[in-house]
């Protein structure tokens, strides 16, 4: 009666909770984009996506990945699918190598996330053809900030996941 299995939420509740966090991350990213006044953004959605793919790879399909990508494309003014492609690839590789990622220390994870964010930002620089000196500065600053954000995002989402799963 008192086992953990009894308290586990249904797969749908969990599935929608993941979607909700991704949509919230997208909205925050859009708001931050207006606030930061920089060409690049702080990829909160990408980091949230990486977390969920690494934490619960079996429960995460591509639906929320695509939806959050489309939301970012629409509100950040990109061609539809620009974010989605890179999110799909990030999801795929996260789900493929989640064992290895989980086994890393948080600092090592931050480094890996920083590399992913760097690739992600370079992808957008290449797409927008926006090659100026200041963008390189923005690129490195946002990559460093993103790697610092990773433990926070990891901690918050993990806390929420445990709360939802076990109610503790």
């Amino acid at each position: 009666m008192n086992s953990l299995d009894d308290k586990k939420p249904s797969i749908f509740t969990f599935y929608f909770f993941v979607g909700l966090t991704l949509i919230i991350a997208s909205i925050v990213e859009i708001l931050l984009n207006d606030f930061l006044l920089s060409r690049l953004t702080l990829p909160l959605t990408l980091m949230t996506l990486i977390y969920w793919n690494v934490a619960t790879p079996r429960n995460i399909g591509f639906f929320w990945t695509m939806l959050s990508g489309f939301i970012l494309d629409v509100f950040l003014g990109y061609l539809l699918g620009t974010h989605v492609v890179i999110f799909l690839l990030a999801s795929y590789f996260s789900q493929r190598y989640f064992h290895r990622f989980r086994a890393l220390f948080r600092l090592q994870q931050s480094l890996i996330v920083a590399i992913i964010v760097l690739i992600y930002q370079i992808y957008f620089i290449l797409i927008s053809n926006y090659f100026i000196l200041s963008i390189i500065f923005e690129l490195f600053i946002l990559t460093i900030i993103s790697s610092l954000f990773w433990p926070i995002i990891y901690g918050i989402l993990r806390y929420l996941r445990i709360k939802l799963t076990y109610g503790q």
Binding site: P57, T65, V74, T82, V85, L88, Q95, P151
Partner: protein
């Protein structure tokens, strides 16, 4: 929250060389679908339509910020004298705006009246000639500079010439049912018989295509001409009336390989000036 995670590294050591159950075959349909959407957006601008619809749907949310600000401002000023002051300021602002608008209208009327006065002064020189007025409705610079003038008479003929408050400005290029196209005197296709008002020597003035600039055609090197000489229409050929100022000599250039001087005449007439145009026969 952050601690304790890495104690599972022992377990993970065995799992570190395994890969997840995710297969690339699951990724391909999603990528394909996304590429289709990208193509759709590129070809049919789907995202623009989505953005318009979403901005319409989310417009109440975007107004929340302003609504909240207005509410806070209303509450904070309602019970204080600020409310009265702000109302008075708003009323005065509206009054200032109305007065500015009135001032603008009066300025426009004054400009129109000045223009009409100048045109009527000009029309006194056309004794016993019929004159007609038209209203400028359009001005185009490309591919050919012209103004469109609205007319309310059928008596205007293609041989008439056009004046504005400055004086002679152009000729009729095309007669349409309710409007006329006028090309400027500086149009490269026009030649105006003229004379130097100092020496009374006849010359031909040719348009350069540049606003307010003309060239004198084939003026011999031994001819008498100076910078600042006024060039007026000679009336020869009957196409243009006599005695209207066309400009002043601004540049005289000599070329060793030519027997003629290159003479530039400039005036200050603005072809598209004002709102009224006067037509008469030469």
């Amino acid at each position: 929250m952050f601690g304790g995670e890495h104690k599972q590294t022992d377990i993970a050591q065995s799992a570190i060389f395994t890969t997840g159950s995710m297969r690339a075959s699951r990724l391909y349909p999603a990528i394909l679908f996304t590429l289709l959407i990208m193509y759709g957006d590129y070809s049919f601008e789907l995202s623009t339509k989505i953005r318009i619809v979403s901005s319409y749907i989310f417009s109440p949310f975007t107004q929340i910020e302003y609504l909240a600000k207005d509410t806070v401002n209303s509450f904070s000023s309602y019970f204080s004298s600020q409310k009265k002051l702000s109302e008075e300021i708003n009323m005065l602002r509206n009054l200032v705006r109305d007065l500015e608008n009135q001032n603008l209208v009066l300025k426009n009327t004054k400009t129109s009246l000045n223009e009409l006065e100048q045109l009527f002064d000009l029309s006194k020189s056309f004794q016993e000639k019929e004159i007609f007025f038209g209203k400028i409705i359009d001005f185009k610079k490309f591919p050919k500079e012209f103004i469109s003038v609205e007319i309310r008479t059928n008596n205007i003929t293609k041989d008439m010439i056009a004046f504005n408050a400055f004086g002679l400005i152009g000729v009729i290029d095309e007669l349409l049912s309710n409007s006329i196209k006028i090309i400027p005197l500086h149009d490269a296709s026009l030649k105006v018989p003229a004379k130097n008002s100092r020496t009374l020597e006849n010359v031909i003035l040719v348009g350069t295509g540049e606003p307010r600039r003309f060239q004198i055609e084939e003026f011999k090197k031994n001819g008498d001409i100076q910078k600042g000489d006024e060039i007026v229409s000679s009336g020869l050929g009957g196409r243009f009336p006599e005695g209207f100022s066309l400009g002043r000599v601004s540049e005289i250039e000599e070329n060793d390989q030519s027997n003629f001087l290159s003479i530039t005449v400039e005036n200050t007439f603005d072809f598209s000036f004002g709102s009224k145009v006067l037509f008469t026969k030469p």
